[in-house]
């Protein structure tokens, strides 16, 4: 992430959360936090607790974030933000937490008298992590149509091209899903399992070879002393270190009601 991208991201984040910008300049921004974001980011539960108890007037903080130090007047004090800074990662986490679940409708109004049907889709964006003593991640987005069971990959990218709205448009109506979201999730999971099974797993085999090698050394080391408590601990440590595993975790997702021409 370049500094300009970070700037854009921060702007979007505060904007989407309804914050006012006190100052918006090249290289830095000062934001008036809302009450919600103050609670989310500033880590001062005692203040908010106190305020609730006493019924005082909330005074959320202002936050100045600097993305380009060379471009900031001297009197401006703020936090330097770069890709590794804890504040940015806190905001990353907050973004994911605040936008884990969604429901949207395609913004297409039907003509008078002819109503437009919208089809339900379940979309999940996820991270697949291949883990042994090393790790790599893959991003995947899958959409499942909850009437005919059709599945589409890179679904999120398709959604980006469609105009979406949180309220159902006039003269449009939604079709009820035939596949329940719960079994929809099961279908997505089983598709993933099939796809992953077909992949090349030499990374996992290599890890198992490393594991076995170290395990053999360990056995030799504790030969005649197998009852030793350390032996058991070391074995568990090797398992944790090398055992290949694939974790699938969901970033976000939800229901999208789309026209049949949309996908």
């Amino acid at each position: 992430m370049q500094q300009q991208e970070i700037y854009k991201f921060l702007h979007n984040y505060f904007d989407s959360n309804g914050c006012e910008f006190v100052e918006l300049a090249d290289g830095y921004m000062t934001v008036q936090l809302t009450e919600e974001l103050d609670k989310e980011l500033m880590n001062r539960p005692f203040y908010w607790h106190y305020l609730e108890k006493t019924g005082g007037i909330p005074n959320p903080m202002k936050l100045t974030l600097i993305t380009d130090q060379s471009n900031v007047p001297e009197n401006i004090k703020g936090e330097n933000i770069h890709f590794g800074s804890p504040r940015l990662h806190q905001i990353f986490e907050s973004t994911k937490r605040l936008a884990g679940y969604i429901r949207l409708y395609e913004n297409k109004e039907g003509a008078m008298g002819s109503q437009i049907p919208l089809l339900p889709w379940l979309c999940v964006n996820m991270k697949i992590s291949y883990q042994c003593d090393r790790k790599r991640d893959v991003y995947k987005s899958i959409g499942l149509q909850l009437i005919n069971g059709r599945m589409v990959t890179d679904f999120h990218d398709l959604l980006l091209k469609i105009e979406l709205t949180p309220k159902i448009p006039d003269y449009a109506f939604t079709l009820s899903p035939l596949i329940m979201p719960k079994s929809g999730m099961a279908r997505i999971e089983s598709l993933l399992r099939t796809l992953i099974a077909e992949e090349d797993h030499s990374w996992a085999n290599d890890a198992r070879i490393r594991w076995k090698k170290d395990l053999d050394l360990l056995k030799h080391f504790y030969e005649g002393d197998e009852k030793n408590e350390s032996y058991e601990i070391e074995q568990r440590a090797l398992k944790d270190q090398f055992e290949p595993k694939i974790h699938i975790s969901i970033i976000n997702g939800g229901l999208f009601y789309l026209t049949d021409k949309a996908v």
């Binding site: 890709f83 804890p86 790790k135």
Partner: protein
């Protein structure tokens, strides 16, 4: 073979929950941002380092990045980091830890360091790496925090010990790990019984010396890598004279250990200038020194040769140091004979007759001339106290520094030295583990006979971050044991300007034993100065031979080309 797939189902439960309750639903803009964020933070490749991108304000040196890459990619996160003093092992460990944290392979980390370094580690991890490390202060902290820095001495004791064993640490990092060379100690046993998924052992002392120590350290990291205890010693102790086997052993060790030398790094180091300052005793000081020499002939006065040698060396430092030892010698005797008491008393008389300290006066003169920050190292606490008083009498501000100081006091003293006072007076144990690179002058008021210690002393200031050339002044009194030590250490072996590891390697290869062992034998066990001189001559020619061998190898190698 199939791989276990773990599908996180907690998201799904919450989705169903929100469907039933008709929300709440996130905003489309934030939702899109969240996907963007994830795409930016995920790590698409097994290989390579992501950490540098996260710490743009820190520019690791090429050898440090290489170490981190090696450890993560080829050593599977278990390694002994054995760079020479001052090459930035902390940075290497920080890089590795950061890399694992970014990749989500490490969440909980336990960092065990000498008590004097706890705060420094905490600070460096936080400011240089943005790793939220905390110094352990209360026992609840083990559970509350993910990255904890502590001393082994605290960690191994209950209640901490039991709590630590309940935590599931993903990585254990141990600084100054050469202290774990003895597998009979409590510290060793403690570290051994910790679960170590990933593990970094940091040490600056080359461990090629004693086979047993190597075996213990490697077995802590990776049990069985060098075989079982019995098979290892069967193989190497008996045949330890055959270089062939040692080559094989070296190869094995290099699989778990990385050692960079200053000369490997390609960095232009600030120079070390070493200056020997010969000092003449005053008449009274000479009398005191000589009267200690005569002790040797009087049977029963000294219990061991060691204390005579100690007294001699102390006499070269300060009369206070001698006095302190004499007092102890007298106290230790249950029923001192009248002759014994008389001898001690006569020595004390001579001490009282000494009106001034030639070395201290020289030091004062030098400090005034330097006009900048100076570290004085002495072996003796009595000398340390005396010097502090003496400098104060002459309007020079100073702070003491000792290994026995509590953590906070050490940090405070360092801070005072950096900001307020001109001189820091350190005793041996205090030399280890603090970084004083803002100072570029060292006075070795007296000399240790262990060159590794000398290297540690110099390493406090001759390290990365030092901006000036480093000046080292060695004080030696003419015609004393001190001069002999210096002759050996400096003039003959040229020790100060070269890094000791090189020489130690050669000696080990030739099966001559380590320098340290030789020096202890020469200075600690010689019965007379004559014996010491002969042993020293032998040792010097051995080293010269070793150096020739090294050069010979070079020639042979080029000849083959």
């Amino acid at each position: 073979m199939t791989v276990e797939i773990i599908f996180n189902s907690s998201w799904q439960e919450e989705l169903l929950n929100r469907l039933t309750n008709d929300g709440p639903w996130g905003s489309w803009d934030l939702y899109k941002l969240a996907v963007e964020v994830e795409k930016h933070t995920l790590v698409p490749e097994f290989e390579g380092l992501r950490a540098p991108v996260h710490i743009p304000q820190l520019t690791p040196l090429p050898h440090q990045l290489e170490v981190a890459k090696q450890v993560v990619e080829n050593m599977h996160g278990k390694a002994i980091l054995a760079d020479e003093v001052g090459l930035g092992k902390t940075i290497e460990a920080g890089l590795i830890l950061k890399e694992y944290m970014i990749r989500g392979l490490v969440k909980k980390a336990l960092i065990l360091v000498p008590a004097s370094l706890v705060l420094q580690w905490e600070m460096e991890l936080n400011t240089k790496f943005f790793i939220p490390a905390v110094a352990q202060k209360k026992s609840y902290m083990w559970e509350q925090y993910d990255v904890v820095v502590s001393s082994i001495d605290t960690a191994k004791r209950n209640p901490h010990r039991d709590i630590i064993f309940k935590q599931n640490y993903d990585i254990v990092i141990i600084d100054e790990a050469h202290k774990l060379k003895n597998n009979k100690t409590k510290n060793y046993e403690f570290v051994q019984s910790l679960k170590k998924k990933f593990c970094l052992l940091l040490t600056a002392t080359p461990i090629q010396n004693r086979l047993e120590e190597i075996f213990n350290l490697v077995s802590l990291l990776k049990p069985g890598h060098l075989g079982s205890e019995s098979s290892f010693f069967e193989k190497y102790k008996k045949d330890s004279r055959s270089i062939q086997d040692n080559e094989h052993l070296k190869e094995l060790i290099n699989k778990v250990m990385i050692r960079n030398r200053r000369s490997d790094t390609g960095i232009e180091w600030k120079k070390r200038h070493v200056e020997t300052i010969p000092i003449h005793f005053t008449k009274e000081e000479q009398d005191l020194y000589d009267s200690i020499l005569t002790l040797k002939e009087e049977q029963g006065i000294t219990q061991s040769q060691f204390s005579t040698m100690t007294l001699q060396r102390e006499a070269c430092s300060s009369r206070e140091a001698v006095y302190y030892t004499l007092k102890n010698m007298l106290q230790r005797q249950e029923n001192p004979s009248p002759a014994y008491e008389a001898t001690i008393a006569s020595l004390i008389k001579r001490i009282e007759a000494v009106p001034r300290n030639s070395k201290a006066e020289k030091a004062l003169e030098l400090i005034k001339k330097i006009g900048d920050k100076v570290i004085i190292f002495t072996e003796y606490r009595a000398t340390q106290l005396y010097l502090q008083w003496f400098l104060q009498q002459h309007g020079i501000t100073s702070v003491p520094f000792r290994g026995g100081f509590k953590r906070g006091k050490k940090d405070w003293m360092r801070e005072l030295f950096q900001k307020k006072v001109q001189v820091l007076i350190a005793t041996e144990a205090g030399g280890e583990g603090i970084n004083l690179q803002f100072c570029s002058h060292i006075i070795n008021f007296d000399l240790p006979w262990n060159p590794m210690r000398l290297e540690q002393r110099i390493g406090r200031i001759h390290r990365l971050g030092q901006e000036k050339d480093v000046m080292i002044y060695n004080f030696a009194i003419k015609n004393t044991v001190e001069e002999h030590i210096l002759k050996l250490l400096y003039e003959k072996i040229n020790l100060f300007e070269k890094v000791i590891g090189d020489l130690d390697d050669i000696l080990t290869r030739l099966e001559f034993g380590s320098i340290e062992d030789h020096l202890i034998d020469i200075f600690g066990h010689s019965a007379s100065e004559g014996e010491m001189k002969i042993k020293m001559e032998n040792f010097t020619s051995m080293i010269q031979f070793a150096e020739q061998m090294k050069e010979g190898n070079h020639h042979a190698a080029t000849g083959n080309l």
